[in-house]
């Protein structure tokens, strides 16, 4: 199957083609999955890009090795991959117990050009959120990231985390409350009041 024709294929079909030795499927799956895995690992690991890249490489390696025995219909590829990624991240976090940057350490915007200010403001907000996420217990952090940043539905998150949907709702609600409390004092500082 040519690479261009693969943009509409489901990930499960691509994985089956990969398992049958289709190199174009290998490239298509890598291009599709790597950015999502990297972003998820990056957020779970407190914005540590090098660690996130290591986790991405390891998670995808596990997927390639599982491809030959993959049973279609059992699990979505992305669901399986989010679960593996989160587990790898949690293992690393527990091993290192490294604290994320403190909220007060986040640099202030310095450039005063409008677009640059806007960009810096957005980057500062993302960093502030990351720092606040790092303060959450790991399960709450995982649920909030999956629900509100990755945009997954509760049933899929429940599958990834191996819990019920009610538990997902509870984790995200508690996580958001903590985030609100952590970020409440920084709205003006991060330019929130000037947006509306």
């Amino acid at each position: 199957m040519p690479y261009d024709a693969m943009s509409d294929c489901a990930e499960e079909e691509l994985l089956a083609a990969y398992a049958a030795g289709d190199a174009a499927a290998a490239r298509a799956l890598t291009a599709r999955l790597a950015p999502r895995v990297l972003a998820h690992a990056y957020r779970m690991l407190g914005g540590d890009r090098a660690e996130a890249e290591d986790v991405t490489q390891e998670a995808l390696l596990r997927l390639w090795r599982a491809a030959a025995d993959w049973r279609s219909g059992e699990a979505k590829v992305s669901t399986w991959l989010y679960r593996v990624t989160a587990n790898l991240c949690i293992d690393r976090m527990r091993r290192k117990s490294r604290a994320g940057p403190a909220l007060d350490d986040i640099p202030e915007p310095e450039d005063d050009r409008p677009s640059a200010v806007q960009h810096m403001q957005q980057a500062a907000r993302a960093e502030a959120l990351q720092a606040a996420l790092d303060e959450l217990p790991e399960r709450q952090r995982q649920a909030v990231i999956l629900r509100h940043i990755e945009g997954l539905g509760n049933p899929e998150i429940a599958q990834i985390m191996d819990i019920g949907t009610r538990a997902v709702e509870s984790l995200t609600a508690r996580g958001k409350r903590t985030l609100e409390a952590l970020l409440a004092g920084r709205r003006t500082e991060l330019g929130y009041d000037g947006d509306d």
Partner: protein
């Protein structure tokens, strides 16, 4: 004043917009991993050649060896009959004497008609 949920949605949007993008080198490394780990489809076994099929039909090497030995022995006995059989054959090579009639009276009668 917007609610707390709106407050957070601004941060979530910022996080989405600032998502890390894998660079070319990293993607190349991941693709190389994927290709290196890709299962190789089982190669179809080539069909055996003519002599392989003959050998197999005759029972492998053991069958072939036995057949060759039997052929060689038959040819050797034909070319150089063992002396111990002379008593049976006698001095004559007339096959009729040993009861072997290659052409019976019946066949000769048929030829005459």
């Amino acid at each position: 004043m917007p609610g707390a949920a709106d407050d957070l949605s601004v941060f979530f949007e910022a996080a989405r917009a600032e998502a890390p993008v894998p660079d070319g080198d990293f993607m190349a490394r991941l693709t190389a991993d994927a290709l290196a780990e890709m299962p190789v489809p089982a190669a179809r076994a080539p069909s055996p050649g003519f002599w392989m099929q003959v050998r197999s039909a005759l029972g492998g090497w053991a069958g072939m060896t036995g057949l060759a030995a039997a052929c060689a022995a038959g040819i050797w006995i034909g070319v150089n009959p063992p002396a111990t059989l002379d008593a049976y054959w006698g001095d004559s090579t007339n096959l009729g004497e040993v009861g072997v009639d290659p052409l019976s009276g019946f066949e000769l009668a048929m030829l005459e008609e």
